[in-house]
């Protein structure tokens, strides 16, 4: 069965800067995938290529369609929140809804207005008059009211406070995700999405560093906290990282037998951000 998103050897350059370096990926349907990487890693470029917003080299197929040539068809089934700043600032909120209603056959205006009614957004206001949080809510309302199979979120909560961020992801899970639909979320604030992810992809300098399910991640990586006298023994296992915490040593290990390390200390499942930092070599 063809994966929902099939990416082969996708590259993209901006002048002398290579933003994507022959990336290959498969993302199955019904998943919530986190695309995680530091600033400038190529996340946004990849997502823009997925939506056909930019040209690229290589091959991408989403729902069987190549975004480069079939953008118009593809985005009919794909919801995108690139960034809160992409809504046309001169448009009034009601004009955004008018426009959506005019061009998107799967947009449900009534649903969108119901969603907006739960917010402080007035339809007579211009987008540029809205706060950053309101812009996100508006964009979210538009996307939630559109019947799509794939939702692509590019740093959707960037610059927003914790309350907005929590509400945003709660809404996504409650109102959108039903197990058949898929979500790809790009972020460099991995801790705020890891609880909802089913898969995670680490990207650095235009290359995929890790592509793994959350279940695999929990099996493959181990966080081991040991007393000082056990340090050398753990070091012989080749840990990815080590640091000190309250007089004890904390190691992150990969591909080790749990039965082997359990006698040495306290074994825990590492957070995605711990694994991310370890694989990024501490640069994040």
């Amino acid at each position: 069965m063809e994966p929902l998103i099939h990416i082969r050897d996708v590259s993209k350059s901006y002048g002398s800067t290579q933003a994507l370096k022959a990336i290959s990926l498969d993302i199955p349907a019904g998943r919530i995938v986190g695309l995680v990487g530091p600033n400038g890693a190529g996340k946004t470029t990849l997502l823009r290529a997925l939506t056909g917003s930019i040209d690229y080299h290589g091959h991408i197929r989403i729902l069987g369609l190549e975004p480069r040539n079939r953008r118009e068809k593809l985005v009919a089934f794909t919801g995108v929140i690139h960034d809160v700043a992409v809504l046309p600032p001169w448009m009034k909120v009601r004009h955004v809804l008018d426009y959506m209603q005019g061009v998107h056959p799967r947009f449900n205006r009534q649903r969108c207005e119901e969603f907006l009614a739960t917010t402080a957004i007035e339809q007579g206001k211009k987008v540029k008059q809205l706060s950053k949080g309101m812009k996100t809510q508006l964009h979210l309302a538009v996307v939630m009211a559109t019947d799509t199979r794939l939702l692509i979120l590019d740093e959707p909560t960037h610059g927003l406070d914790i309350l907005f961020r929590k509400r945003f992801y709660t809404t996504i899970l409650d109102e959108y995700f039903d197990g058949d639909k898929s979500i790809v979320i790009s972020t460099h604030q991995v801790e705020e999405v890891e609880h909802i992810l089913s898969d995670v992809i680490f990207i650095r300098e235009g290359s995929v560093l890790l592509n793994i399910t959350m279940d695999q991640l929990r099996e493959e990586f181990v966080q081991l906290t040991v007393p000082a006298e056990k340090t050398d023994e753990v070091r012989s296992l080749g840990p990815l990282t080590e640091h000190e915490l309250f007089g004890r040593k904390v190691f992150l290990l990969r591909d080790v037998d749990r039965a082997t390390v359990e006698p040495l200390g306290e074994v825990q499942v590492p957070s995605v951000s711990d694994v991310f930092v370890a694989l990024m070599g501490g640069e994040a």
Partner: protein, 321 residues
């Protein structure tokens, strides 16, 4: 169709405030001009008659030999006709020329910003995240930047023509007849017909420039207006340097000359007595001759070339600085 209409409505909504402001200023200009003509012509006639009567001499146009043989009463009437016709036709000419020029300048500003602005503020990603093809997006911009602006120019021009007809003091037919002009030349329907034909011809002239500025808007990293206009001027100068004439610059401004000539010869009546009643008015020499010419073919080819380049550049979504 509904989707395409939404694209045009979007463009209109973005620019409607500008249009409303221009339209409002225009209406104010209309009222002011009508007032000046009405009051001014009366004052001029009476003042002139009083002065000349007191001095026992008349100051008619020396070229107008017929007037010499008129009785004093007829001379007053003829004088009034001259002044009214002069004021009216110039009001007509100034009004339509002005609004046409203003709309052309606005179209230029619209076209250089049409894609650039969306690239600069990031909203291109919103638009491209929706199921509308690049061809539809770009053609709607070209359509709005040409037909849309010319339609506004035409509409405001028609309002001006109607207003001028309504505000002319006295009996228009008598005035026109006294001036020896063919009535068909100044019939409202003829004026509006001329105005419509002129806009069709202007569209043929405007299209390649519109496509060029849309291309500039799609590819430049900064200052699209400066770059777009600057390149045209440089090309004109380069042409002059290489070819030794101003053919390119003349072609660029040709339409403006044509408007002026058309208004002078057809509407101001300078050729009035030479055109027999019922004779068709020929713009640009001949409407069909102009529109079915090599010039139009070249216009369309250049338009197609720039539009094709714009289409491919738009797909690349080039960043701005």
């Amino acid at each position: 169709m509904r989707s395409y209409l939404s694209l045009l409505v979007r463009e209109w909504r973005e620019w409607r405030m500008v249009m409303i402001v221009v339209g409002s200023l225009y209406v104010l200009g209309l009222a002011g001009s009508a007032l000046m003509l009405y009051k001014g012509s009366d004052a001029l006639i009476h003042g002139d008659i009083r002065t000349n009567w007191a001095q026992g001499e008349w100051d008619f146009d020396e070229d107008d030999e017929d007037i010499e043989w008129l009785s004093p009463k007829e001379m007053v009437s003829a004088k009034r006709s001259q002044i009214l016709l002069f004021g009216w036709t110039h009001m007509l000419r100034a009004g339509v020329s002005f609004i046409n020029l203003v709309l052309l300048v606005l179209a230029l500003f619209y076209l250089v910003d049409a894609v650039y602005k969306e690239r600069a503020d990031g909203s291109t990603f919103f638009y491209r995240g929706l199921p509308v093809g690049d061809l539809s997006i770009l053609s709607s911009k070209l359509l709005f930047g040409t037909v849309g602006f010319l339609a506004v120019s035409f509409t405001l021009g028609v309002i001006w023509v109607l207003f001028a007809q309504l505000t002319i003091p006295g009996n228009l037919a008598d005035v026109i007849a006294a001036a020896g002009l063919s009535p068909s030349q100044v019939a409202t329907t003829d004026l509006i017909g001329d105005w419509a034909l002129f806009h069709i011809l202007q569209l043929a002239w405007l299209l390649p420039f519109a496509a060029y500025f849309l291309f500039v808007s799609t590819v430049t990293r900064s200052r699209p207006l400066l770059i777009g206009v600057g390149v045209l001027i440089l090309l004109g100068l380069l042409w002059r340097f290489l070819a030794g004439d101003n053919a390119l610059l003349r072609e660029i401004t040709a339409n403006l000359d044509v408007l002026g000539d058309t208004l002078k010869t057809e509407w101001l009546g300078t050729k009035g007595p030479e055109i027999a009643p019922g004779e068709s008015i020929e713009l640009f020499g001949s409407f069909s001759g102009y529109i079915l010419s090599l010039r139009t073919v070249i216009s369309l080819l250049v338009t197609g070339g720039f539009f094709g380049l714009t289409f491919f550049a738009y797909r690349r979504n080039l960043p701005v600085s």
